[in-house]
């Protein structure tokens, strides 16, 4: 049997509990909304490590189960996210889009038309919107030939070229194109129509080089060896000749700097031809780039051999890879050009593979902005 005050006390406690539950639930709703936003922020800032991955796995699980996250919210969050974060958000957006019944045409159209949004996010919005609508696809692409999204721009120009336009339109498309293979393709079509474009200039390929070599790389062991010419170049005091691996009539012969110009329309310097198919060797190539101003730029190297590149004495890329492929824009690094003369040194390493397909020794280099548009040296 309970005493009366005990009953009152119990009722009071029940009321307090109910109130606490009510407040808690209410706060829970608010917290849930805040949490979803916070969870998305976590995905935006993902870094490449296990801890970040484990957190993201928990985060995406919560977001997949949440009912207050929208496709547009996920796509919008891709702006400013890390490259890893963008892929997690893209994965989330795909699930949300499927669950939504693929019906958000108006919202996606608005999102796609906002060119300030992330280009990768806009591309998938474009895919969804046009998946079963060829007419809309054509209409949208007609207006995307200068889109800031490289993927949308590439697609728009590809479709326009496929439609076999006349020469003025092709020249306009060439001006808009940034993707290297697409530029080459358009120049090829123009050539067939009788209009010759200076491809070397179009790309901003560097054609005038000073070469020295060959230095010893037998066994492909000297990729990281600092040869005297390399050390001297870093100090700004190169000599006219250096001890090389060449032996003529039984005597060692010094390597001397030679001037070489790219002769082909892809700006390739053919070291195999210049150095008589020498194998197991290192050659250095140096040039100057006279920049109009201090500016951000990209060095874009194509090379089928091991390579290192320095700009003004700073190593900017290193790829110890042999005979897999060579194409324009194969290796891209962001750099800061100073106003005036910039010194570029490329170290090229040939191995001793004997296969017929492993005989090339060649490179090409160009300077561009971040979209791939050529930055030309002063006076060019």
């Amino acid at each position: 049997m309970f005493a009366k005050q005990d009953i009152h006390s119990s009722i009071a406690k029940l009321k307090q509990t109910a109130l606490a539950l009510f407040i808690g639930l209410g706060m829970g709703v608010t917290l849930h909304a805040e949490t979803s936003t916070e969870l998305i922020k976590q995905l935006q800032s993902l870094q490449p490590n296990d801890a970040s991955n484990q957190t993201a796995t928990k985060t995406i699980k919560q977001l997949n189960a949440a009912n207050d996250v929208t496709v547009i919210q996920s796509l919008t969050a891709m702006k400013g996210a890390t490259p890893l974060g963008r892929n997690w958000l893209l994965g989330l957006a795909n699930s949300l889009y499927r669950k939504s019944g693929k019906s958000q045409t108006a919202e996606l159209s608005t999102f796609l038309s906002d060119v300030s949004q992330d280009g990768e996010a806009r591309y998938i919005a474009f895919q969804w919107l046009t998946a079963n609508n060829a007419e809309l696809r054509k209409k949208l692409l007609d207006g995307m030939k200068q889109d800031p999204s490289p993927e949308l721009r590439y697609l728009a120009i590809s479709e326009a070229v496929a439609a076999k336009p006349d020469t003025p339109e092709l020249l306009s498309l060439l001006d808009s194109a940034r993707h290297a293979q697409q530029v080459v393709s358009i120049i090829g079509v123009l050539k067939e129509k009788g209009t010759v474009v200076d491809q070397v200039k179009q790309f901003g390929l560097l054609t005038q080089w000073k070469l020295i070599g060959p230095f010893d790389n037998v066994g492909t062991v000297n990729f990281d060896k600092v040869f005297p010419v390399e050390a001297d170049w870093m100090n700004g005091k190169v000599k006219d000749e250096y001890e090389s691996k060449l032996v003529v009539d039984g005597k060692n012969v010094n390597a001397k700097w030679i001037n070489e110009s790219a002769k082909s329309e892809d700006g390739t310097i053919d070291l195999a031809a210049i150095y008589s198919n020498e194998k197991g060797c290192i050659v250095y190539a140096a040039t100057e780039f006279d920049s109009e101003k201090e500016q951000d730029a990209e060095l874009r190297l194509g090379c089928i051999n091991g390579n290192k590149t320095w700009l003004n004495g700073k190593l900017v890329m290193s790829n110890e890879v042999y005979h897999t492929d060579m194409k324009i824009d194969q290796y891209i690094e962001t750099v800061r050009l100073k106003a005036g003369k910039n010194q570029i040194l490329v170290k090229l390493s040939q191995n001793e593979q004997k296969e017929q397909w492993a005989q090339r020794f060649a490179f090409q280099l160009r300077v561009s902005d971040s979209t791939g548009k050529a930055i030309l040296a002063k006076g060019r």
Partner: protein, 413 residues
């Protein structure tokens, strides 16, 4: 019926806290990875038509056009046929697509953007490895070293850019080693001239459980799971410099051998033997407990340039260019060879249903070869009219062929 059976397994996993690894060659079994259950490329009980395709599309249950291109194979999990594609500028859009077995309609799609290199040979694709599944999740790997895990509804579980973790991992001809899943670990072999490694990635959260350096040589072969006499499962990896077995959960080396293996066709195990594309074909004994496998025989007439070997009954089969060879499983003695008439390049590892071998060529032809004791007879030459570079999958009485730009279900009508 098949779906219910899989759900029963899922219940079992929930109840007992493990996932049953029921990869057999029985009818309606899943085809969960490159070359199917146990990487055997075989489904003896399946009955497939020998004549299909052509202009009439004979025995084509459905064909579904997919975005971009792929040179990997499809897998089959329950009533889903799952495959990858790469599309768009530089093939940087990475797709993972589930197709309904019943009618070929798209069930779900996932999509990512390649964070690694997307250079590859024109005949290849960034979607080159075949995905893998443990029946709970699907693991999709790409030439760009992007690795994604989704559930069977396509929801993202985790994603990992191994090229971000190891920036020099890549090969501008294109990578194609397919992942495998064992003991809760997804194992990838990323061998190239740059950051060359193999890794075990946690199936649950994508953490890298272990990583080991591998020879700095391009390698396109896939790892394979074998069972030791002790019952322990180990992962065998091959390269042009070695052959080794590692523990899947730790990456600890169980044994290693100085064997110069081929870098394209992959090893497989059957009848307590390990068949390795090396010096033609080299066969090792897996029956000794706790020992480094000893060599049983090798035969340089059983060399394979691209296709992985397979075992049917007491015979092992290899393909060199356009010549199919059959040899005795126990002695390595060459029994017969058959030239495939007017065959173009063959990249897709062939599969066996019943006693017929299905060999797809790059130009979309399929030679159906009846495997006899004395000879191999081409009983039919079919044409899909689409390039095929990925190894087919078989489930029930159907074969799933991943063409470069579409997927086909071949089954008797």
């Amino acid at each position: 019926m098949r779906f219910k059976l899989r759900n029963a397994f899922a219940s079992c996993a929930l109840t007992f806290g493990f996932l049953p690894m029921v990869f057999t060659s029985s009818l309606h079994a899943d085809w969960p990875q490159f070359r199917g259950p146990n990487a055997g490329s075989i489904s003896l009980e399946s009955k497939l038509p020998t004549k299909f395709g052509g202009e009439s599309k004979a025995n084509v249950a459905w064909q579904t056009k997919l975005p971009g291109r792929s040179v990997g194979g499809a897998i089959v999990i329950g009533d889903q046929v799952i495959t990858t594609s790469s599309s768009g500028m530089d093939q940087r859009r990475l797709h993972l697509i589930s197709v309904n077995d019943k009618d070929g309609s798209i069930r779900w799609q996932q999509e990512f953007v390649a964070r690694g290199r997307t250079n590859c040979h024109p005949t290849s694709a960034i979607a080159a490895p075949t995905p893998a599944s443990d029946g709970k999740y699907v693991y999709a790997f790409y030439s760009s070293n992007d690795l994604a895990c989704v559930d069977l509804d396509g929801n993202l579980i985790w994603y990992r850019s191994l090229s971000t973790d190891f920036p020099k991992a890549g090969n501008d001809v294109g990578m194609s080693s397919s992942p495998i899943v064992v003991d809760g670990v997804c194992i990838v072999q990323v061998e190239c001239q740059g950051d060359s490694f193999a890794a075990g990635v946690s199936c649950e959260d994508g953490s890298i459980l272990w990583r080991m350096d591998r020879p700095k040589q391009a390698n396109w072969a896939s790892p394979v799971v074998i069972k030791l006499p002790s019952g322990e499962q180990v992962v065998v990896m091959q390269s042009s410099q070695d052959l080794l077995a590692v523990a899947p959960k730790t990456g600890k080396t169980v044994w290693t051998m100085d064997v110069k293996c081929s870098s394209i066709p992959s090893a497989m195990a059957a009848e307590s033997r390990l068949f390795v594309p090396a010096a033609g074909l080299t066969v090792f004994d897996l029956s000794s407990v706790g020992a480094v496998p000893s060599k049983l025989w090798d035969n340089n007439k059983l060399a394979a340039n691209a296709c992985s070997p397979l075992v049917v009954g007491k015979r092992v089969y290899t393909i060199s260019r356009t010549v199919l060879a059959s040899a005795d499983l126990f002695s390595g003695e060459l029994k017969w060879q058959a030239r495939l008439p007017d065959a173009k390049s063959i990249w897709a590892s062939p599969v066996v249903a019943g006693n017929n071998l299905y060999i797809f060529t790059e130009d979309g032809k399929c030679f159906v070869v009846n495997l006899g004791d004395e000879k191999g007879e081409v009983v039919e030459t079919n044409d899909l009219g689409e390039s095929v570079l990925g190894s087919p999958a078989i489930s029930g009485n159907a074969m799933y062929v991943r063409g470069v730009s579409s997927i086909w279900k071949i089954a008797e009508k």
